[in-house]
């Protein structure tokens, strides 16, 4: 059992270099899919083990913590690992046809190798119990991400990747400085160890500065408003499969790190005194309004979805800064819900890109009628994004509203209402352009025949899309798994 946890790290780590060496695109793809599926199976298994509040502890190299690196898995870790590996499998399924159409044949093996490294980094972040180790995984995933984004179809991807590289590095540096300060103050890197001895070095100025550094660094990585500006460019320019994977996992994992820092590493009372919850709450509300508004402004589908992510991250921040159990549950459940919704929508956008060679909404007019199934799935995921009852979005909204009413935070209630209305507006913008606008002759680049019909979406893509769309409904109706995981994680976080 304990050995399984380290397999989650070891398998992608071993496979990535092998993948890079194999010249065939099919084999590398299959290898990546297998790695993702194995990770998914293992993380599911672990989640079932720990869902009722138990821990699994693995000591790396047999060194006892706090000297060695320790992997301590509770249901939050496992839940995030399930999200990461699940979305990775989905993105991989989608990538089968999407990647060859967007990436040069020679670099495909490298692409999959980077993809696996990114998966490894994200899984590592979600499993480790050592903050320096966490930084290392953060860097692994970030470096892989820069490479992945730079493989985008347009040359703009290069600048997008470069500016993301600069910002990501700044974020990681902030985080590293924070870790360094905390290490200087406490003499330890193990989360549990630091937390248990916290009162002995609490009074040092250094500890407070460390917290601010770490929170700032992670806030950038999580694209928390107003540090979100890298996100639309990066996700908008990345290859479709990468947008699917990153939009659904990278920011979520950062939110997870934020949860760990704020609730596990530091005692809650410590940062409540610093007015941090109030700041985060107002930033979260601002993010919801601002992100939704900007999404509504966009004329390009991927950028629209990216801005919508900014808004959705706002909901998660609101949830965790309300400091009650329901709010935390909402936040953690939304990690999962939003991952599913956004992955589905980005897959939809990817399919449209694959067929129409553009994601400009103007050029997609009337395409929904040619691709009714793709359109239906996008519409379903869009409804989830709005939070219609019976979809996953509603679950989050429900718990958030409940939490806000419990705390008497009417401003949050108002924000959620306004956010939902704006969400209707920007989802409608997609639906209107895809379906209700009269059909123009679609402008297809690089197609030799003059036929203006649109072929069906490839089977693997449609499969990935509908798996996502169906999950939006299933987990909206049957919330047992996600709710149980989230609530046991929330209780564990608040217990300290």
């Amino acid at each position: 059992m304990e050995q399984l946890t380290i397999l989650l790290i070891v398998i992608p780590l071993m496979c990535a270099p092998i993948t890079a060496l194999i010249p065939s695109e099919k084999i590398t793809w299959a290898l990546t899919l297998i790695v993702s599926l194995i990770s998914l199976a293992i993380s599911f298994y672990i989640l079932y083990e720990v869902i009722d509040g138990k821990h699994v502890i693995y000591e790396l190299g047999g060194w006892r913590p706090p000297w060695g690196i320790e992997y301590k898995i509770d249901s939050l870790n496992a839940f995030v690992a399930v999200i990461v590996s699940g979305i990775s499998a989905l993105a991989c399924l989608f990538a089968y046809r999407s990647v060859p159409s967007e990436i040069d044949k020679k670099t495909i093996p490298l692409f999959y190798a980077a993809f696996q490294l990114c998966l490894l980094g994200l899984l590592g972040i979600s499993l480790t119990g050592d903050i320096f180790n966490l930084f290392v995984f953060l860097e692994i995933s970030s470096l892989a991400t820069y490479a992945l984004i730079s493989m985008g179809k347009h040359r703009k991807a290069l600048t997008a990747a470069f500016s993301y590289l600069i910002l990501g590095t700044i974020g990681a540096t902030f985080f590293l400085i924070g870790v360094g300060f905390l290490f200087a103050a406490s003499g330890s890197l193990n989360t549990a160890d630091i937390a248990s001895r916290f009162s002995s070095f609490e009074d040092m100025q250094l500890v407070e500065t460390a917290l601010i550094f770490m929170v700032m660094g992670i806030a950038l990585k999580a694209a928390i408003f107003p540090l979100h500006s890298w996100l639309p460019n990066a996700y908008g320019q990345a290859p479709s499969a990468v947008s699917v994977f990153l939009s659904a996992t990278a920011t979520k994992v950062s939110i997870y790190v934020l949860l760990r820092i704020l609730f596990d590493l530091y005692p809650v009372e410590y940062w409540v005194d610093m007015l941090l919850p109030q700041i985060m709450l107002s930033l979260g509300c601002a993010a919801v309004i601002y992100g939704s508004y900007r999404a509504w402004q966009q004329v390009e589908m991927k950028r629209l979805l990216a801005f919508s992510s900014v808004a959705q991250i706002g909901y998660m921040v609101i949830g965790l800064s309300m400091l009650n159990e329901l709010g935390l549950i909402a936040s953690i459940i939304h990690l999962f819900n939003h991952a599913v919704i956004k992955a589905t929508l980005f897959i939809g956008a990817g399919i449209l890109l694959y067929r129409a060679n553009t994601t400009q909404l103007k050029s997609l007019r009337g395409l929904g009628k040619d691709m009714p199934w793709t359109f239906a799935a996008i519409a379903l995921a869009g409804l989830s994004l709005i939070g219609v009852p019976g979809t996953v979005g509603f679950v989050t909204k429900w718990y958030l509203l409940e939490a806000a009413v419990e705390k008497g935070l009417w401003i949050v209630v108002a924000t959620i209402v306004v956010g939902s209305v704006l969400a209707i507006a920007y989802v409608w913008k997609i639906v209107e352009n895809l379906y209700f606008r009269s059909k123009r002759k679609i402008h297809i680049h690089d197609v030799s025949s003059g036929d203006d019909g649109v072929a069906k979406a490839p089977k693997t893509m449609t499969m990935a899309l509908w798996i996502g769309a169906i999950m939006c409904i299933i987990f909206g109706l049957n919330t047992e798994l996600s709710f149980q995981a989230a609530s046991s994680a929330a209780t564990a976080l608040l217990e300290r």
């Binding site: 500016s163 600069i166 910002l167 700044i170 974020g171 902030f174 407070e208 500065t209 601010i212 550094f213 929170v215 700032m216 806030a219 950038l220 107003p226 540090l227 500006s229 890298w230 639309p232 460019n233 005194d273 610093m274 007015l275 941090l276 700041i279 508004y293 900007r294 402004q297 966009q298 004329v299 009852p389 019976g390 679950v395 429900w398 509203l401 409940e402 009413v405 419990e406 209630v413 209402v417 109706l477 919330t479 709710f483």
Partner: protein
Amino acid sequence: MSYAIPVFLPFFLAALFAAIAPVRFRYLLILVPLVNGILLYVNADSLEPISIQLHTFTLQIMDVGAAVNEQDAKLSLLFAYLFHLACFICLIYAMHIKDKVQLVAGLLYAGSAIGAVFAGDFITLFIFWELLALTSAFLVFARRTKAAKTAGIRYLIIQILSGVLLLIGAISYFQQTGTTDIGYIGLGSVASWFFLIAFGIKAAFPFMHTWLTDAYPEATPVGTVFLSAFTTKVAIYMLARTFPGEDLLVYIGAAMTCFPIFYAVIENDLRKVLAYSLINQLGFMVCGIGIGTALALNGTVAHAFNDVIFKGLLFMTMGAVLTRVGHVNGSNLGGLYKTMPKTTLFCIVGAASISAFPLFSGFVSKSMVMAAMIEAGHDYLWLMLLFASAGVFHHAGIKIPFFAFFAHDSGLRPKEAPTNMLIAMGIASAICILVGTYPALLYSLLPWENDYVAYDITHTLTQLQLLFFSALAFVWLNQRGLYPPELKSVNLDFEWIYRKLLPSSGNAVYRLASSTKASCFSVLVYLSNTIPTMKRGSDANAATMTLRMALGFVVLVVLAFATQFM
């Protein structure tokens, strides 16, 4: 044989069928409300509660059976029968159209209304509440004119707002009491006000009524008939369940009976006249709920039943005129009785019912509310209701048939209404007269203990006097040329506040703000320069982001430092 499906399900399935099947099969749809209604009536005593588990709560989609008290069960059932009947009539009325949108929307709409009256908790209610809003909007959109489109959007926004308020109310109610079951609430808590306003919007309380007079006249001929039957009655049902005996409602109701009369008398669009008259009738029901005695509540329910039939009938006759002539402006109609004699007859029956002539249905139910009002000791309010009754006769009882079918000959010679419309109107007329002459039929279904006798001498005579003097007033005013003429005009209602005053005052505030901004120019310009303009493609570059990181860091450090000394 037992009836073990949610009652609304056949309607949703029928809507699906209507959407998929070729339009020539639409005649089959009539069977749905008929068969389902009969099955429901036969199995009324053996209904089983049904609920669905969703997330952490249970959706009680069929809240019937032993657990429900007798009155509530009977109330739900009566409204369900009513909605079946209304849907049946509406469908017959709609058979000549080949527009799938209206049929599907109408069926879904009726189904949602029926779902709402059987809902056992506020969450289920919320779902059907929003479905009502969503589906009914398409009946307005289906007219496919620009005016209908914009009115439909306004209608939808207000209705959705009502739903959102209901949801907020439900959540805070849940926080307070730990349950979402529908039951008596009563004013007091924050939640109850949310509920009252949510129901109030749908029940067209004064100042919240504008959607009704805005959207109903713009809907399709068939759509208006559907609309007049369901939305407001579901609200009345919910008010009767949650706020019986709430004193405030008596005053709101009395206001609702009176103010629409003035608008109705000067309005030219005859369907808008009927929309105002609908608010006036709702006023009687709200009054009855406010009084809250068994007699008053029985009166409310009975009146809701009758109102659906006779108001539907009047809307149907106007719809027939609209179908044949193309407009229902009082100023350009008249003399239609020559070619539309049957429609004229049905319209007169409807007019007599709404004005509560003895032997017609309005008489047997309106009087119950009035009697309850006197019993409760509200003398002045009773006089208001009396005035309102006279007013109804004026604007709905005389004005509608007179200006549409008689008055000056407009020279229009339209064909008689299509046969299916005539059948539908005939059925509604028959029910009006049947209930009016044999009220025991309706009384036996009423939820509360009932021993009211409609036809005693005092009451009949009072009503007749009232009507004759009212008629006299109409004739005299008309002869003297004092009666407000039918003119094309724009009548300002409270709607003006929402659509003109608020936006323009908003603009005024904005202008004020801009002038203030100009006055403290230097500061604001500096500040507004620091706020990045939000163009579509503009995103902060790496340098700005780094600056933001640094600023954020400084702010947090300062805050952390400052709070140490607090």
